[in-house]
Symmetry: C2
Subunit: 143 residues, 2 copies
Amino acid sequence: MTTDERPPVVELTEEEAWKYVEKTFHGRLAFSVGNQPDIFPINYYAHDGVLLFRTAPGTKLAGVTINSHVAFETDGILSDEAWSVIIKGTCRELDHSAEIEEAEKLPLKPWVRTPKYRYVELTPTSISGRFFNLGPEPDPDEL
Amino acid sequence: MTTDERPPVVELTEEEAWKYVEKTFHGRLAFSVGNQPDIFPINYYAHDGVLLFRTAPGTKLAGVTINSHVAFETDGILSDEAWSVIIKGTCRELDHSAEIEEAEKLPLKPWVRTPKYRYVELTPTSISGRFFNLGPEPDPDEL
């Protein structure tokens, strides 16, 4: 019998999951073009219920423009626990000068010294998260 | 003028990218069902040019069975540098008892105490990676 009585997986509430997203600044954006999946790492800033990220014209921006439905994942891993949050939602590029000016006031900077002047906003339609108590696989005889 | 002369982004060769993948055990799998993207965190083991992961029957296994084309991302972030590798490829579930027995000898264990007895193998069709020297955004006047 195991001495580890922690549940291996705990479903997070939407509020709990969003708190993890707000405290994190790096995730991955997946989208689909012609039923083929693609994925990119992004750094983002979460505020007021949306995620904002910056990009330059290219595959990533083209992908979310062609198919605005995206899946996003962010996670964190420690030695004995981990969490992961998955957001489904839609993306749109900010195109009004007023909203771009507002976005420029946010603490969202590219991580590398390349210019990325386009802003994309991800509005969640669903958010789910799980917290993992890491541990060994169960003995099949105990199940 | 900036004093940081490191290139902000360095494209990795396939060999360099694969070395990062082999040294890492956690990534995210994206796939597309009905042109809608989905994404899951996975822990994996890379060996002999393929990635192996374990799963239980459910959305993840159903997704890669319905559309075997997947995109995979893994990354690592330090204070002043980061890397990310993206693999495109196809998935198949191991179904021969001989190959399942071989897979069971590999150091691939679920991270949580839930049973995951199905093995899925991801065979890359492309691999690309980037190394990032993290730093402040460039001054537009310097571009």
